[in-house]
Symmetry: none
Subunit: 130 residues, 4 copies
């Protein structure tokens, strides 16, 4: 279900967060769907339960999921709210960094737009499969 790699620079708990968000964006996780429990996921991924717990807490803080005591953790229906300008600036900055590093790798505007198309196509395909 989830794929994480401890050797990657991104923290494990953040890899989990990204995966959940990605799966929701792709439609692989629907609102009200139940997520695996912390212990279940941790043992399945062979990582520390605290790490999974931290990911879930952060996801809950972001309003992506909600835990109901004694029942489990569930995906929450997202109402897209306009993000604070700080976040948008951060996103643009990250994008700019990608652009610059692509420059040094020999990839330019058209390549990046193509990559974007690919990513969105992949997301929609997954969504249609359901």
């Amino acid at each position: 279900m989830f794929q994480i790699d401890p050797k990657q620079p991104m923290p494990l708990y953040e890899q989990i967060i990204q995966q959940v968000k990605e799966m929701y964006a792709k439609g692989l996780l629907k609102p009200n769907e139940k997520l695996p429990s912390v212990r279940e996921l941790a043992s399945h991924m062979v990582i520390n339960p605290n790490t999974v717990s931290k990911a879930y807490q952060e996801l809950e803080r972001q309003g992506i999921i909600a835990t109901i005591r004694g029942r489990g953790t569930f995906i929450v229906k997202q109402d897209i709210k306009p993000a604070p300008p700080t976040d948008i600036t951060r996103l643009k900055d990250t994008l700019k960094q990608v652009v610059i590093n692509c420059y040094y790798a020999g990839y330019f505007k058209n390549d990046l737009i193509e990559w974007l198309e690919d990513i969105y196509t992949e997301m929609e395909e997954k969504a249609d499969e359901d």
Copy 2:
């Protein structure tokens, strides 16, 4: 000249690296141009010389700059070499994360393409000013 912000999550030395790469990509730094000395830049930025030194060493490792002993550090002419596939995968992954986080912020394909256009326009403008 350089602008860094200690409050940002990105390490100071990496902010410097990004700035140098950005300035070169924009044409604000030309090959063979001398960079400020480690001490100079450090005192100007009010940070520790070691931090600047670390940034310069990493830039040298990436082949962006070269140090000539006792003389200083200089921008190196870039021959754009095809990046290893690992790096390209990393770049694509970073882009995918931006896409997903944009999804939650209510920005989609067209917005991102527009942002890309803006970034490239900004880069070319700077390059033309010389």
Copy 3:
């Protein structure tokens, strides 16, 4: 385990790098084996942790070891990839310098070949002990 000598002209951190590479080449360090922690090695060698850290970071950059966050650093399985021509030229140059300095010390081709034999014999012996 490791032996370093602060009196030698080679920087401490590079001595560590060489030792790790030597031990791996000799088979004394196996893939996936854990290296001592930065603090552990530093206190054992009576040097500053930063120095060990620098050595480990450079080894990671060279793909010899990998760090897993919060877990430690581990030897990585080496896939011997053809080195860039620049590196080979550097190796040949270093070898040439050895030859020249041997000339002045009164040692010539046969002596050097004998030394090479000795070095390779030593490496294989260690490898067989496992």
Copy 4:
């Protein structure tokens, strides 16, 4: 005549030393032959005279050259004296490092022996040309 590269890690003055020693070993410089003056060589190489001076001083210390006041600097006839054991250990260590770094570059005993043959062949050829 001499070729030096300020971007290489070896100090300029040591590059000069190595070149002189190499040329003597190859027979391109004969005993009693006059070397260019410090200022001459410095202006020809576009480097600081102090750097050339330092190289010459070190060469003189090693007994490779001798300066006669008012006359110039001359190559000294080498009587090969047995090197102190410390130096031999250092040479062997350097050789071992080359071996280890060759290991990671995918070159092994036979390759190194071949390289050695090449270097000695090159030296003898030059010597015969005179």
